[in-house]
Symmetry: C2
Subunit: 185 residues, 2 copies
């Protein structure tokens, strides 16, 4: 990224969110986003494979963060607790972006293709989590099961976090969903 | 379906599986499948929205079967047990089609687009399961959590079922995966 484009990426994300909310996702092109952010279309495509990826900007960072946190977690944590520690660490990246998360969810809910991509990202997060548990010595089927449970907890907690009337921390929502999951047995 | 096409659907499924395995999924067209099954392309598209759907032929029936089984399950079952009863009922539809399931999984594993569609079908199964639990009076987040856990158990059990060297029943694999899930702390 050249220094003639300070925070071009951030500007593109903000411009895209506004255009998606105003005109709708389908009616917004990559060119519109670039223009509104004051960059060229080529710059847009240097940052994002397509306009959908703007909405999944943080998902790779979250996966990496969760992976690292699972490896760093205390050795005496159970597979499920280690996986949940990863979700908490990944979720912490979103902590001060609740408004963004709420708007993003509305855009995704209005578009089946985006909903599909969200499911794929969640599946990828489960795969990464399972891989991290494997590196802690957890074998199958436990690694896959614990990973899917943790991602389900994250998914449910995230939905509660963005829909709660009285805003609470995402970490509190994760703890609550994890407790509900354990109580289900 | 006219009587001049006895088991046209079954013939198309079998023809598609052979062609996908021989030539690869990408290299097989709907026209190829129709020709090989001795039907017109128009007939093919009366049965399937596209060639991918041939591989997901049983997924709607499975969802419906699981849904009905969850509603029919004994009222004193826990949400998770009721959801698992749905998975066992849905899985029973596959019981005598293990060879088909093995070949199908190989085709899907070789094609990312098919893997995506499989994830979407699993997500749809979780939604249907959650809805059925809702009709049993289970509230959120329990309904969503129990549904996702049950579908995860199904997913893991299915993978073990088709990869087991010594074939076992899918129901036994589901019971084993459910026990492993409950044992995760």
């Amino acid at each position: 990224m050249g220094r003639w484009e300070p925070d071009a990426r951030g500007r593109m994300i903000r411009a895209a969110m506004e255009l998606f909310a105003e005109r709708g996702f389908e009616q917004t092109t990559a060119g519109d986003i670039a223009e509104s952010a004051g960059v060229t279309e080529r710059t847009f495509f240097r940052h994002f494979a397509d306009k959908r990826e703007v909405l999944f900007d943080s998902s790779e960072t979250m996966q990496r963060t969760a992976y690292d946190a699972i490896l760093a977690a205390s050795g005496d944590l159970s597979p499920l607790d280690a996986a949940l520690a990863g979700m908490v660490a990944g979720g912490a990246l979103l902590a001060d972006r609740r408004d963004h998360a709420v708007r993003r969810s509305r855009i995704i809910a209005a578009n089946p293709g985006l909903h599909e991509r969200e499911l794929l990202k969640l599946a990828a997060m489960a795969d990464t989590t399972s891989e991290a548990l494997g590196r802690r010595g957890v074998t199958e089927p436990d690694a896959g099961l614990a990973a899917h449970m943790a991602v389900t907890v994250f998914h449910v907690a995230f939905a509660r976090w963005i829909s709660a009337e009285e805003p609470r921390g995402l970490d509190a929502c994760i703890a609550e969903a994890a407790a509900a999951l354990r109580a289900l047995k």
